[in-house]
Amino acid sequence: MNAQTAIPEVKTREMSYAEAIRDAMAIALERDPTVILMGEDIGVYGGAFQVTGDLVERFGTDRVMDTPISELGGAGVAVGAALTGLKPIFEFQFSDFAALAMEQIVNQAAKMRYMLGGEAAVPLVFRMPAGSGTGAAAQHSQSFEAWFGHVPGLKVVQPSTPADAKGLLLAALEDPDPVIIFEHKLLYKMKAQVPEGYYTTPIGKAQIMRPGRDVTIVASAIMVHRALEAAEKLAKDGIDAEVIDLRSVRPIDRDTIIASVRKTGRLLCVYEGVRTLGVGAEISAMIAESEAFDYLDAPILRLGGAEAPIPYNPDLERAAVPQAPAIEAAARQLVRREV
């Protein structure tokens, strides 16, 4: 996988996804004295996934603040700080723990501007390491993007590459409203070329990762890579899949997806969150009520997470979320389908 960026001219450097996020935070801390980082063990420990790394040594404990284990309160402090002039980047150690802070994220941050009739704003970023595959079981492996995608007032992104991880984080900081970034834990070590210096990746735009004619596969986060893997296999049999990286769950880039489906006539949505009421449901429904409906040559298919908590056993864990062979099989099924 190569990094695909909005600014292809600039100098790039190989970085991991985690390093790219750290680079974005370092740039933000340099550029804007109101930016602060908050989270559990993001200081000397460097973060549970080593994303903040050495930032506390570079920027000090006033800018890189370890919080007590108080997710609700911590998120609320970030909201209050954002409301009054700081720009916090708040790290949840695992996105699962955001379940403790839904009140501050959803009832306060997301609605504050609206409830106050536009007289105030809450510009902040919640970073949430998400997804399964690390053997951490049911309470440390969830994918909550559908929850936040359902909440007006929030923006929700899921970068799938180091370059996007950096560009979307910097874009989120420029956004005058709260943005939630889901970082997939299995991507933290993925390396790719990343533009140096400051740039932003626009929030709300999907990206065509692989153009194709026969079937559209819309995937998010780690699923983008599994979809690309499946597409390679499909190509060997002459099936030309278009792989779209959703990137943003709220807002969803309707135009890019519709244009692709008009071209291919077939749509497969692949996401890790639980299948029912997951992101694929929205994409499917969006297409089913759009002008692209008339171009559909087959039912819209979804591959999502199993209707189960994430199990501990590694084989069960893998079986609980879409893998490349299942994506490949679903795409074949769609393409085989007679109209």
Partner: protein, 341 residues
């Protein structure tokens, strides 16, 4: 009320408020207390007339707590308020006209008709907003104090909350962080004996909320919340501490709401006697009498203040009535910043 209004007197046996604040400031405080009372009576009346939608939580009987707590604050200082927040809003400097307009769902309201009673804010005077979520403002206040500290400003944040709110986890997390980080925030508990129908005894493992301050290594003080001077004095100490960078405090104002919790309350959990005994301790009448005793006012000038407040309220209601409603097509306006829409 700015610090410039304060004067020192030699008569140390006078009540704190009389010693500490200028006569003008004291008179303005009494007027604010009238404004709160009359605003809420006006809101109640408007509700009965069908001008107001939804519910409301009145603070009648708690006016001294709101006004005395905010005495020393400037517009740079912040407050976070509660569902029972009209008093705090007025105490912090809001105009009753725009408050009524918000109640009436009008575009001229503080929240352009989107928020209503439970979300009134007036960011310009430092009121970060009422809150429909019990305890919702507690960590937000800590965040506001963090901003002040990080940006090197000396403003303080006052966090109003109720006795019921003290059992929310948010209370614990907020007070702990404020203390660990020594932030300039003062937690002001308006203890009116009940969270909705549930008394302190049935909900709270301590007698006084301020007894919990020790769990956060901060000073905790319980005062008669209907005694303007007692509240102002406790706040004076807490604010000085906060401005000096010494960290947060917890101040508990014992008071009482005369009205039911909200419009749906049948007052089944308390006695008429109890309500009447507290009505006899009207904080406004008491403060008025104190000011007269100490020669800050006479009966006539006090009545003039009250009448001025009445006129403000009447004008406010007229302003609100005459104001335009939001455009029905603008349901999604203010969800995001215009620029990014």
């Amino acid at each position: 009320m700015t610090m410039k209004d304060k004067v020192e007197t030699a008569q140390d046996n006078l009540p704190f408020a009389i010693r500490h604040f200028s006569p003008d400031a004291l008179r303005a405080a009494l007027k604010k207390m009238y404004l709160i009372r009359l605003f809420e009576e006006g809101a109640e009346d408007s509700y009965t007339r069908g001008l107001i939608h939804g519910t409301m939580h009145l603070s009648i009987g708690q006016e001294a707590s709101a006004v005395a707590t905010c005495m020393e604050l400037t517009d740079a200082d912040k407050i976070t308020s509660t569902h029972r927040g009209h008093g705090h809003c007025i105490a912090k400097g809001a105009e009753v006209g725009r408050m009524f307009a918000e109640f009436f769902g009008k575009e001229t309201g503080y929240c352009h008709g989107r928020g209503g009673s439970m979300h009134i804010a007036d960011v310009k005077t430092g009121n970060l907003g009422a809150n429909g979520i019990v305890g919702g403002g507690l960590p937000i206040a800590v965040g506001a104090a963090l901003t002040a500290k990080r940006l090197g400003r000396d403003d303080v944040t006052i966090c109003f909350f109720g006795d019921g709110a003290n059992n929310e986890g948010a209370f614990h997390e907020a007070l702990n962080m404020a203390s660990v980080w020594k932030l300039p925030v003062i937690f002001v508990c308006e203890n009116n004996k009940y969270g909705m129908s549930t008394s302190i005894e049935r909900s709270t493992a301590v007698r006084y909320i301020a007894d919990r301050a020790v769990a956060y290594s901060m000073p905790g003080e319980t005062v008669d919340g209907n005694d303007f001077s007692a509240v102002a004095e406790a706040m004076h100490r807490a604010i000085a501490r906060a401005r000096a960078g010494e960290g947060p405090s917890l101040v508990e104002n014992l008071t009482y709401r005369w009205r039911g919790h909200s419009k749906s309350d049948r007052n089944r959990y308390r006695t008429k006697d109890e309500i009447e005994s507290w009505m006899a301790r009207d904080p406004i009448a008491r403060f008025r009498a104190d000011l007269i005793t100490h020669g800050i006012l006479n009966d006539e000038s006090a009545t003039a203040l009250q009448q001025a407040a009445e006129a403000d309220v009447a004008q406010g209601i007229e302003f609100a009535k005459a104001s335009p409603a939001p455009q029905i097509t603008e349901v999604t306006k203010f969800v995001h910043a215009e620029v990014s829409a």
